[in-house]
Structures are given as C-alpha cells and as structure tokens.
C-alpha cells in the first residue's frame, strides 16, 4: 500500500567513497568476511577428507570385520585387530572424565561460593597456567613419579590407572575453568534470591546453581573427555602401550593415538592406512561428542541457559 503520489526518488547522496561502479567498502567487507566464514566451515571437510583419503587403502583392502575379529594387532604380519586400542582409548578417557569432573566441580564451586575473591583469582591463575602446560610435562612427570609409586602396589606400574590419573590431572584445569565461568555468569539476583530464602551456601551451590548450569557442566565434561580422548604424548609415556585387552586397572593398555605415534614412523603403506583409520575412528567419536555438546547448548529455540 504505497502512496502513489510519492515516487521512490533516488537515494540521498552521501560522501561515501565508492570503490568503482556500485561497489562499496561495506560490500567488499561483507564478501571478505563471508569467504573467511566459508573457509572455516570447509576446513572441517578438508581435514576429514585428508584423513579419509589416508585411510582409504585400509578400508578398501581389509574387510572391516577383520579390525574386530583378527587374533591380534600385528600389522607386520597382517593382523589388524583394533579392538584393544579402541577399548584402551575409551577406558582411559572415561576414567579420566569420571575422576576429573567431580574435582573440577568442587574447584569451581569453591572458587565461586566459598573462597574469598583474592584466593579464588589466584587459584584461577594457577589453573590458567596449568591449562597451558604442554602435556609432555605431565607425561614426563607421571612416568618418573606416579608410575614407580603404582609399581609398588602392583607391577608394572605403567597401566590404565596411571593413564587415567595423569589424564585427569591434565584435563582438570580446562573443565574447572569452564564450569567456573558458567557459575560466574549466574545472575546475582538468582543467588540473592536463594540466600534471601535462608539457603546455606551448599544448598545454593549444589541444589540451585548446579541445576541451573547443568548443561554447562555436562558440556565442560564432554570437552574434557574430548581432550583426554585425543591426548597422545601422556598416554604413550604412562600407559604401557600393550595392544591387548586389560583385565584390571593395573594392566597396560594402548590407545588409538598412542598406536599412531608408536608405529607411523616405520609403517609400510597399508599399515599407514590402518593408522589413518584409527585417526578416522577418533575423528568420528569427536564428531559424536561435538554433536552432543551442540544439542545440549544450542538446541534450537531454547536459549543457552547459563
């Protein structure tokens, strides 16, 4: 229902510098940003493609069932049972997750509800430094300090348990800081409301705040799980790298990542392809975790609730 008597006159002229016919800086910027954006979205596909391409010979020449049913992992004599590594990866990372999440939650809760602000900020700074610590330092320390200690309990010391302990130490700073940020973003009115009802700090923190930020806690745990699953150096150093199914937590295990580091240097072409395949498996697990985090945090119309 436009007014027929008024014509749509040409635009007001303003002293914006045109960059040629009809091209504005705004338009150029928009295109440039869109290209960067496209690049970011494509990069996942490129990484996936390169890994898939590396794994293709293995997928083409070895039937997938053999990765589960071969008697052992001896690629030099064409035995390709990957189950021990898969189990090793899953057990170490889940163990680390189970250990690290409650501790991280305790740290975050203490920093937000109990410690005085100065102590909390010092503690956060320590976590920040530890989060940036190269994992090789954790592995190195674990091998020289934790492994001999575990060896006294039950030989040989390098074991699933050692891997779990060191990985937990490694991911605690990341998960604790993530949960801490979620707590610190809680609206003050919410906390004041709880205190005004006469709730103790423990009640406020564990029955109210934790429930409100539960998704953030869960995502932090999943991100920690992802880090533990992808960790290479630590597990190579402390888990013993034995490609066999463990029967107790004191048994050595080998993870998929350790498998790659151990063997990629002298692998024949088909062997290399199987190593790319183990990376591909990890990539798929990581994608699954990412989907889970995404569903939790960005689930369509329900806004992020932290």
């Amino acid at each position: 229902m436009t007014n027929p008597q008024v014509s749509a006159a040409p635009a007001l002229s303003r002293a914006h510098r045109p960059l040629g016919s009809g091209v504005t800086f705004d338009g150029v910027l928009r295109v440039a940003l869109a290209i960067a954006f496209g690049f970011a979205c494509i990069i996942v596909l490129v990484v996936a493609f390169v890994i898939l391409q590396g794994a293709a010979p293995a997928l083409a020449q070895i039937s997938w069932a053999r990765f589960l049913t071969d008697p052992d992992w001896h690629p030099m004599v064409e035995m390709y049972n990957m189950t021990p590594m898969l189990v090793g990866s899953v057990l170490t990372s889940i163990g680390a997750l189970v250990l690290a999440t409650p501790v991280s939650l305790a740290i975050a809760a203490a920093c937000n509800f109990y410690l005085n602000p100065l102590a909390a900020s010092i503690y956060r700074r320590i976590l920040f430094v530890m989060a940036a610590m190269p994992t090789v330092i954790f592995g190195f320390w674990g091998l020289t300090e934790v492994v001999p200690f575990l060896g006294q309990i039950k030989a040989p010391g390098v074991s699933l348990l050692a891997g779990v302990l060191i990985l937990a130490l490694m991911i605690i700073p990341t998960t604790a800081l993530l949960i801490d940020v979620a707590f610190s973003k809680l609206p003050r009115q919410l906390l004041n409301g709880a205190y005004a009802l006469g709730a103790s700090r423990a009640q406020t923190c564990f029955t109210m705040a934790c429930v409100v930020v539960r998704r953030a806690i869960f995502s932090a745990a999943l991100l920690g799980l992802g880090r533990a699953l992808g960790e290479t150096i630590v597990v190579v150093m402390v888990t013993g790298n034995k490609a066999a199914l463990p029967t107790s937590i004191f048994d050595p295990i080998r993870t998929l990542t350790a498998n790659v580091t151990l063997e990629i240097g002298y692998a024949a072409p088909l062997h290399t392809a199987t190593l790319f395949l183990s990376i591909l498996i990890l990539f798929m697990i990581a994608t699954g975790l990412a989907l889970l985090v995404y569903k939790l945090n960005f689930n369509d119309n329900t806004q992020v609730d932290v």
Binding site: H74, V236, G240, K242, G265, Y266
Partner: protein
C-alpha cells in the same frame, strides 16, 4: 586509528614484519635434507654442523623413523635417508653407506639378579614361556617384558637376532623411543627390555638403576661391538638413490672420515674404521 586498537595493531605489525622478513631471506647455497631414523638423526645433527663449517651448504636433519627416511628419499622429498638397520630386499635399488655400528643389548632393572642371558633364555623370556625370574635361577619375581614398537629398527634387529617374528613377542609394555625404554625399565622392578648399547651407557653414567646384560658370554660393551665379538649389532647408515650430487657425496665421505669419529664415540656408537 583509534587508541584502544593501537596495542593490537602494534603486535600484529611486529609479527608480520618478523614473518615477511623471514620469508624474503632466500638463500642461494646448496640445501641438503636428511630424514630417517631417530637413532641416526642426533649423530647426523652433530656431524652436519661440523660439515657445514667452511662449506657453502645448509643441511636439515629430520627424524621420523628409518622407513619414513626411505619413503622420503624415494619420493624425492629428501637427499639422503638415515637408517638404523640393513637395507631390506625390497630396497636394493638404494645404496647404503654405513657410518657407524650400534649394538643392541638386553637391558634389565638393576634389581634383576642375573647378569648373563643366553639367546635361548632371551627367546624364552620374550615369547612368554618364562614369566618368573625364579625359572632362570633368580628370586621369585615376575618378569616384566618391555619391547619396542613393532617395526622399529631396534625391534627388527633384536627379533632377527633371536630368530623371532614380531607376532611371537609377548611384551607387557611397549616403549616408543630409546630413552622411554630406559626410563620405563628403570622405574619397573623385574623388567627386561632391549636398547641400543650406547644409549644405555649414557644413562648408566647418570646413575639410572639399569644394567646391560651380557649375551651368552660376551658382555655388552662398546669395545666388544668395535672388535666384532658382540653379535647383535646393526649398521647406522646413510642411504642414497641413484647418482649422488657433489654435495651429497662430500657429506657421505665426511661422515665416514676420521674427523667425525669423536662425535660418534661421544654419542656412544662405534665409528666405522676406513
């Protein structure tokens, strides 16, 4: 430029200047790339430093394992491969130039009471038929077998010496590199593994609780490797493909010369006498 932005842009400008300056400094001299065995790489790292003195050449030593070295050489990604094993039958088109020898010896935690093991005993231990030191006349203590990654040059030499294939080895623990092997043995009572003699000697000097076991009646020492009485040895070689360029030939001659024997001895390997 708005003021709050200035520190950021300064940092970027410095980083950019740094990077482009680096990129522009293309050099005209000959460049040699060496890739391969992580055992040979430290040796060549030192040798090439000496080699470059007074020559118009730059060398880059990259590690990644003997097989990676061969692959890179075949693909033309490198000029020289470094290997710590003999050339395989499938690699006959290549030429190996041995620069040093390295002995592989069984290595045990110092609390292991035995000092000598025969090849048969070693075979029994590494295939899992013996799993307690008492079966070999020691105390009642479990044997912890530590092997190196399947296909690593050390493993191949050791297994070949014992006449075993990789799948027969029943290792409890697998180590990735020499130093990790030594460290793992040193923190695991009752453990036995195998390692390059030179590497172990360095650590024994630092007081690490490990010992090298004699093979049969020949003690695992550098002297015995040098005089040929110790059997489980491997060549450390440089490998070339086809016609060598002048620079490569020069490097190989230099690496075999007496000038570098001190470096090789310092790193606890045995130089090849010409």
């Amino acid at each position: 430029m708005t003021r709050p932005l200035r520190p950021l842009t300064t940092v970027f400008a410095i980083c950019l200047a740094f990077t482009f300056n680096a990129a522009n400094k293309a050099s005209a001299e000959e460049r040699l790339r060496l890739t391969g065995s992580s055992t040979v790489a430290p040796v060549m790292q030192e040798i090439t430093k000496m080699f470059e003195d007074g020559r118009d050449v730059r060398t880059f030593v990259e590690t990644g394992g003997s097989s990676k070295g061969i692959n890179d050489l075949r693909k033309g990604l490198s000029n020289v491969a470094m290997i710590s094993r003999a050339l395989a039958e499938s690699e006959t088109e290549l030429t190996a130039h041995t620069i040093a020898r390295d002995g592989i010896a069984a290595l045990a935690h110092s609390d292991v009471p035995l000092d000598v093991l025969s090849p048969d005993q070693l075979r029994a231990i590494f295939t899992g038929t013996v799993d307690n030191w008492s079966e070999l006349g020691g105390p009642d203590q479990a044997v912890v077998v530590i092997s190196k990654g399947e296909g690593s040059a050390t493993s191949v030499v050791f297994n070949t010496f014992l006449g075993l294939t990789a799948d027969k080895i029943e290792g409890d623990i697998v180590a990735a590199e020499n130093a990790q092997m030594i460290k793992t043995v040193s923190v695991t009572p009752g453990s036995i593994g195998y390692v390059s003699i030179g590497a172990a000697i360095v650590d024994i000097e630092f007081g690490t609780p490990i010992k090298l076991l004699a093979l049969g009646d020949v003690p695992a020492t550098l002297e015995n490797v040098a005089n040929g009485s110790y059997q489980a040895t491997r060549p450390l070689s440089l490998v070339t493909m086809g016609e060598m360029s002048a620079g490569v030939a020069d490097l190989i001659d230099f690496s075999k010369s007496a000038a570098v024997s001190e470096i090789i001895t310092d790193l606890s390997y045995t130089p090849v006498t010409q």
